[in-house]
Amino acid sequence: MLESIVSYGLAVGAVYALIGITYNVMFSASRVFSFTAGMLGMLGGVLGALFINKLGLNAVLGFVAVLACGAVLGLITEVLTVRPVLKSIEQHLYVLSTLAFALMVQQLTAIEWGTEAQPFPRLIPIGAGWLDQQFWLPMLACAVTIVGLELLYRKTLVGRAFLAIAEDSYAARALGLPETRLRLASFALAGVIGTLAGFTGAQMLLAFFGNQSILSFYGFIPVALGGMGSNRGAVIGGLALGLFQQTANFLVGGIFAAVAVFAVFIVVLLFRPEGLAGAAAARRV
């Protein structure tokens, strides 16, 4: 039982954490909470199965093609759904535009790919049981992503520019930073991370258009738990969510497991609305 809780819990949690990071990367660059994160996760699995299973690309090429598609979708998201509404950001119009785009892509996927779950290839045929790829691949992807983002943000000029935009976009622009291009790059990066989450988790979650709503929601919980904009918080929140969900599956089972997850989520937000790792925002007076 413990083995199953840990292996499945951490693997699913890593996927949730990566979706949470996808939300964060888009939010940091634009202050827009884009609902396309779950869509990117869903497409990671569907496009991976399409490129490798149906079109016969080898695993490496298929993987690169999926990430490239993710980047392009990130760019399209920024241009079509975020940029036009940034002027009215106080009205939260982006909620509608990003959600509409995500739903449109999901419907197109259902029409073109089908509404049945389809298999995702076993890419690295080593290990059995809890050492299977489906468990360690999402965890590896999560570790690589968080380390990569830390290095990007702390060690590179572009990364620091991302942080500057996230901190104060007006000041960053006044200093001559190309805000629009940096925002575009952030959305492309989010596209890569989102599809990476879906690709690495697809053997477990299958290539299924319905994964979009699940990932959109369960990927949001780590962000809420970990604090908006905090990638480390998203990782901790995601892994904790995965482990808790799997424990609830074993202890209460069935539909009650989902109820337990939502109950804990609500309780945490009641006591820590800024998230477990977030700090209460100071308000200028």
Binding site: M1, A117, L205, F208, G210, G253, A258
Partner: protein
Amino acid sequence: MSISRRQVLAGSAVSAAALASGFPAPAIAQNEPIKIGYLPALTGPSSSTGIGINRGTLLAIEEINAAGGIKGRKIELVSRDTQSDPTKAVNAVAELTQRQKASIIWGPLNSGEALAATPLIARDKVPMLHPCWVDSLIDVKKYPMAFRIAPTNTQVGIGANHYVVDVLKLKKVAVISDTTGYGTASVETYVPMLKSKGAEVVYSGHVDAANPDLKPELLRMRNAGAQAIMPWSVNAGFLSRILNTRGAMGWDVPVVGQTTLGSGQTKALLEKPENWNKVYSNNFRNCCYVGGKLPARAQEFVDRLKKSKIEFGDTLLWWVALGWDGAKMIGDTLQAVGPKANDIVAYWNKVKGWPGVYGTVTWTPEQHNGFPDSEVVMCEVNSLRDGAFNLAPGYSG
């Protein structure tokens, strides 16, 4: 040219006189084809069933027309693809009943569309024949002109429960479903039926179909002593996870349930082909191999399909047979009583032991569900050959 009121009145008077004197209808009407409204889902998510049924329907109509039609009149199948969409089915009903003046409606072929279309067909007072399983689609008071040529969901459950309890002689059963309306309703209907047969339901639950790990549920079933698992879901992902988890646990328990267990989509999601062993899904006695052979009626039908070069290896024999039965029943009815609605319903109300390829049909004025319980059986899902499966082990005869 303008028509005066006097001319209209004069014309009406002549028509009335002709009618009163029993003047024969124009010969052209006698040669007009008899229109059958047909509502298959040939595209969209539910189309695999529709495509299979369509092949049998077209064959039957072709055979009837080639043999001279109905007293010299051809049958014209007015087909409208519902695209697996209840809204499109509803729109098509209006066209078929009111504009095309169809004598009979064959379909819709899926329950979702039939739930939307049946009240409208009943309102337009057109006889309706359909193969959908949802129980509430047949109600002699609400829909006196609707008849079913297939089993109900209840009969499907009875067939599966009979196999587990009476044929396999297993008494401890786990019943699981996804959280869809179909899944939860099935569990709520079938669990009391199992208990009334003397079985002990040691596990009963609904699980989110998206849950990637069903090991906790299967462990609960095993710990409770389940000797058979009965999953009720049309979600191939959910069903394959049950089978894969059972395989990973090395648990040799039979899995007995809905037809999707034996679908190609479920097969594609299996981690190992062995995970399909000891899996039994609903099927129909006339379309199953027994000792490697089909029943004579079905074999003769298969020979005709091959002769007519109709592909059925990529679909299921019972779907094609069901399509043929539906159209053949309509042909036999029109041959016997003609195209008038009340005559058709009166004829159907007296059908007894009609020998279809898919099933034997009996209707009465009180019972418009025509399929016999005894012909709902289980089959071995890993035995698919030429669109048909082996009868599951344990049945006699």
